[in-house]
Subunit: 358 residues, 4 copies
């Protein structure tokens, strides 16, 4: 009930803070018999690692995952899979600048009001490092979905005003630039923009898009646990996300029924398909067999070196300039997090759906 | 696990289909001692009733709620509050036109794939009438929030391209026009647009905005059950919603940290406030004391009288023209549903938060 | 979280009080395609009806169930099955004798301390009538288990010191006597004992035993949701139960490993069987393929006509003699309740188990 | 849903196997501000350690707990408390004797049927070492309950036929003998009995009793999550438990209402008390302010050195003699486990109860 558990059938519980011993997750409900190795998980964690370009923090994080349970002779046993990443870079620092001040755009104020005090070192539980646990669990979910022929792929859709152009979309390009943008031209523009933003001690926002292919029709539980509702929760639970769209998203508000409805047709082999996919692969809260397409809007990194007006914990107005290493944009490192939360959600509803029929 | 339960502390379970005996909801976990009458609930249900203008269906629905349990001497007892609305208009009809055909934009196909068959009368569980149960439960949540000084108010933000202008915003106007738009000029434009859409046997989409005032700081559970994550799920679980925003929403993607961060300040009486509210009242997944502001994008009503291409349940291509009474736009009647789902979510997290401290 | 929900995959939520409008239950997660009729449910409710012998209350309860949703063309649709039984016998009575006094052996005191006040009419939510909702849901569970070749049968094992003798056990006899005892001799003794108890304005306790046949091996979730743990909760959640045993129960404390372990063997057709069943069909929290056998100890009916010492709600010592119609023993009418809670639990874990393998 | 989560408000998720990297637990929902140290937890773990007498296994287990998160400056932060104990004694052994054989009285057969295969090294997830995670979480629960003036104390009630005599009951004696029996005479008898049992390569069962003092009235959620129902689940979820009693337990079956009802009275300071406590501190599923008293029956250790008949995984009849270090009786080391599961359950329902009133 305290919010560290996600999912019902494929259920994860995470723990850890940015400046504690480490971060971890336990996955309960992964079916037995799934081949799973440390490398399967590490591969995903490596994608969210910082220090890979000038746009991510210089903090050296090894972020090696240890799988502590649930695997026997290379396969999942059906029992909980516990995983842990130790924090390595916990050098004692001077936190006096942020200990008694509420950083604008951060969770500091809410934590104090909720719990009466807070772990003021680097954001504690609301740090971006919290996503390590999500990615470890998501890597397991991706491995599981693979068995069902499902793939989940996310990428940077836009940073600031620089957006991937449909006609230049090239997924292979995604892994060639440090912004995870599947469009070299847009990436070049965004990089220039970020340099400018950094020069001004400021930060930028952007959009991540995610596509799940191969999801069979009928996944999702009508009424409250609709597939899109669960995905929305999964995505909004990632820090800094302020918007969510499925399929055409907000554009549907200006569309008409005759445009927005996707006609059904039958292909050569007798399968029912949709001609278009304005719905983003979800109708009535259940997958419809088309690609599931969602987008998440990330706000600019709240930690900026510019001076900002704020108040102290004792209620005095003051100013704060946040020193230290902070990504000028959250989006590139969030790509794998969106992928992972999407995979966890689909895996959960896929397993839940097994009980829908006799 | 089958998706008809929402919430943890303030927990609702709904039931019912458009063409069955009725619709209902049981609310478990409403605190004891809350004054609650049938009128408190009926007032909310009346707001979603159809037949109130030329833009809503002509179907006569009395939609009188009966409270079956949980109230003693005018107050909640702490035990489940069961409520039911009987379906009155169940005249036997000819469903042959839709029984064997998947309606584009509807859940028909997913239901068949998930369960092996479906209740083909009017959408069954995916009908808009399902929201009756949400509204009944939401009315109780609103009554509960009132005790804590919290109000939740939604309205139509836009229909098609006709959007409420900030400078003309007038909440009192909301209840004066049939579109629930707090801007008479935008409402007039939207009405004209809807007449045009109807003439073309088509339908329109739009956006609902919702504001919660008086929510104390610290509501929401860090990590997965963030207040915004839970709201996103609540809102996306409403049929036809394809997008969700909190605060500035997708606009944050083009903003900068220095613009998007809301500075804190202290008011005359020593309270910590934010100068702006780009965050929409939520930081780090917890309420920050400012107004909570969210938006939901609704797709155009999928049932249209125009001919559409589709396939039969036996896999043959065909055409369908959906006869009968259908709103040309879902938005006006969805306003109270958004309000209610928002209230249920806040009530749930408010009660959950009581266990956060010793 | 307020305790009116049971189960995860086969999930029930109940509502209602003894002197309100009625009692009901919603079953979410019953698989689609199960043939189910009103008669299937009514048959179980009829077994818990009072007024069937001199040992049950004279209160006339029609207890006709209405199925409100979830069934289409005689089969479950996979959506919630809501059921309701109206209270018929709500004649206005004088509650002054119990309104301000805590009845010994009842929940009155706890309700007042928990909620600040209580529905003092006949026990409210803690009335025996609350089991109507369990039986309606259990009837659905029994119908579902039938599809999997599983039957659940309970009977009165003992009343006071009168116990079914193994050598006289005859299940057919169970339905021939009003005490639901599968042993005519023990039933005759118990009836004589009850007449004596009634003459003394007192009440009696007893034990119900329940056997589930046909449960395949491997049902139950290791660690916390063991089959026996879930059964224990299910059974102890029935009012008046004070003890629970699985298999040999408390007798294991005096047994030895060499006696208590059940040897495995292989039958003619190659199936693995156990030679004995001290385990009561559950090993390591999972069914082992043998009959599941459990027992529940019921305390004597707390409402007795004898004078008892107690206190008033304002804290003064007083005496109370509880007038009205009360069964001198709870056990016979509880038999079907034990059967139903057992069936719900097995159905739930059976469905949950579907996600254990790829 | 896979059963490794217990509780709702005070929620624990455990992981680990007897022969994997270690065992652990994450506690989510422990209120913020509770002073908690490694020693607070270690003290409880030390009580379940083996190797402390001739009646426990010789296996050297350091069982040092590491607290990985959730504590800041010596106090809980309200975020998840992750704890881990590494397995130290994982020397490579020859498992061929048990790999392909179902040990009588063990979970082997169920695991194979449920998951298709199993971790055959020492029981895997169904090993007694699994209770390490329960004890670590229970230590936190005990610390929390202390803040509310609640203590939970368990002890060995009986081993074989040797039972604590009420007139000799001396809690201080509990910690003076290796059987945790609060009666030196009974302990001496039981020790003699155990030596005899061991000489015969056999094992013994027994009963643990647990008392919770200081629980305020009104804890427990009516209907399904009754305090006794949740305790029953908690206790039966411990491996080897086959029976559960609250208060007078099975003796109520032979009692009468006039004997079994506990009269209420008022003490000198105006507090409502019960004169007797046949109910074991729970009425209508809620605490009644008296001591909560429960008992758990443990079966004899299933691993015995005697030859037993069984079958191989390929379905051939065979014999097995289980070598290695095994306690001749589970009870003494289970005492702290019963205490911990009781504490977790009460802590959970205490926190849940905070939402019962406005």
């Amino acid at each position: 009930m305290a919010g560290s558990v996600f999912g019902t059938a494929f259920q994860v519980m995470t723990w850890g803070e940015s400046h504690g011993s480490g971060l971890g997750v336990t996955v309960d409900g992964c079916p037995a018999g799934l081949p799973l190795s440390q490398e399967d998980v590490q591969r995903y964690l490596d994608r969210r690692k910082p220090g890979q370009s000038s746009f991510t923090t210089a903090r050296r994080e090894g972020d090696e995952v240890e799988i502590l349970s649930g695997i026997f002779e290379g396969k999942t046993t059906g029992t909980p899979i516990a995983m842990m990443v130790r924090n390595q870079d916990q050098r004692s620092r001077d936190y006096s600048a942020i200990r008694d001040v509420y950083r604008p755009g951060h969770a500091d104020f809410g934590f104090d009001r909720k719990y009466g005090f807070r772990d003021y070192r680097g954001g504690g539980r609301s740090s971006g490092r919290e996503t390590i646990a999500r990615v470890a669990a998501g890597a397991v979910a991706c491995r599981l979905l693979e068995e069902y022929g499902i793939t989940v792929t996310a990428y940077t859709k836009s940073i600031g005003g620089f957006e991937v152009a449909p006609e230049r979309f090239d997924l292979a390009e995604r892994d060639r630039n440090s912004l995870y943008m599947p469009d070299a031209v847009a990436a070049a523009g965004a990089q220039e923009y970020l340099r400018e933003v950094m020069a001004e001690q400021d930060s930028a926002g952007g959009v991540v898009e995610c596509v799940a292919k191969g999801v069979p029709a009928g996944i999702g539980e009508p009424v409250f646990d609709k597939l899109d509702a669960c995905l929305a929760k999964a995505i909004l639970s990632i820090g800094a996300v302020k918007g969510f769209e499925i399929g055409d998203g907000f554009a549907v508000a200006r569309s008409r029924g005759s445009q927005n409805n996707d006609p059904f047709r039958v292909d050569a082999s007798g399968h029912v398909l949709k001609e278009t996919n304005h719905a983003g692969g979800i109708l009535g809260g259940m997958s419809d067999g088309s690609d599931i397409i969602l987008r998440a809007a990330f706000k600019p990194t709240p930690s900026i070196a510019q001076k900002q007006r704020t108040v102290t914990t004792s209620g005095e107005e003051t100013e704060i300039a946040i020193a230290g290493r902070h990504d000028p944009v959250i989006v590139p490192r969030a790509v794998v997090v969106v992928e992972c939360m999407t995979a966890i959600t689909i895996a959960d509803l896929l397993l839940r759906g097994k009980a829908a029929r006799l």
